[in-house]
Amino acid sequence: MTDIFVDAKGLACPMPIVRAKKAIDSLQSGQIMELHTTDKGSMNDLQAWVRQTNHELIEAKEDNGVFKFIVKKG
């Protein structure tokens, strides 16, 4: 069900949202992006990013130091 997967692990701010933006631009509305990060600020940043870009955060969770996000393109 994921249309694009973005591995932003090991990348510092602002790279996770820059990568997320680039990836989601390649999708159609309603398609799904999965993003993994390790930047500790990304839990807050991703929530801000979806608010500002009108995408939908379907899921945000931490798994062993990896933050995993499922975003539906708005």
């Binding site: 990348l11 510092a12 602002p14 949202i17 820059v18 997320a20 801000a48 500002q52 870009t53 009108n54």
Partner: protein, 132 residues
């Protein structure tokens, strides 16, 4: 949505200024904002072709170099590429360029030369204005 605007002035020396201005600029572009950076005085080093030699950490901040490596922070050229790719306008202040005896080809591709009015024309309806 596309009417969010962020207007940034980069006028201070050093690598720290480059990171402050470019991180906010690339993040703002990722948040679907239109972004313009006005580079003036020492801030011009950021877009100079020899930026790598010109941009140093402030005295006392040298210890941050290791942290930058450890945290895997993008380099200034990488941030500039991302900024360009995401449509960030980069305006070099014509007056300070002239005062410093510089020419357009001292700067990286994609930089436009302009005066205060060129920046203000963009900045008047920006919701966010920042000065670094």
């Amino acid at each position: 949505m596309a009417n969010k605007k962020v207007a940034i002035i980069a006028s201070s020396p050093g690598l720290e200024t480059a990171y402050k201005a470019l991180n906010i600029a690339t993040a703002a572009a990722a948040l679907d904002a239109e972004v313009a950076i006005f580079f003036t005085f020492e801030g011009l080093s950021i877009i100079h072709k020899d930026a790598e030699q010109m941009l140093k950490l402030k005295p006392g901040n040298e210890g941050l170099a290791e942290g930058f490596r450890k945290v895997n922070v993008p380099t200034v050229p990488q941030l500039l590429d991302m900024a360009k790719e995401s449509g960030v306008r980069m305006i070099a202040c014509q007056m300070t360029v002239d005062v410093m005896g510089l020419e357009k080809d001292h700067f990286i591709d994609g930089v436009e030369l302009g005066g205060a009015a060129a920046f203000l024309d963009f900045a008047f309806d920006a919701q966010v204005t920042l000065n670094f």
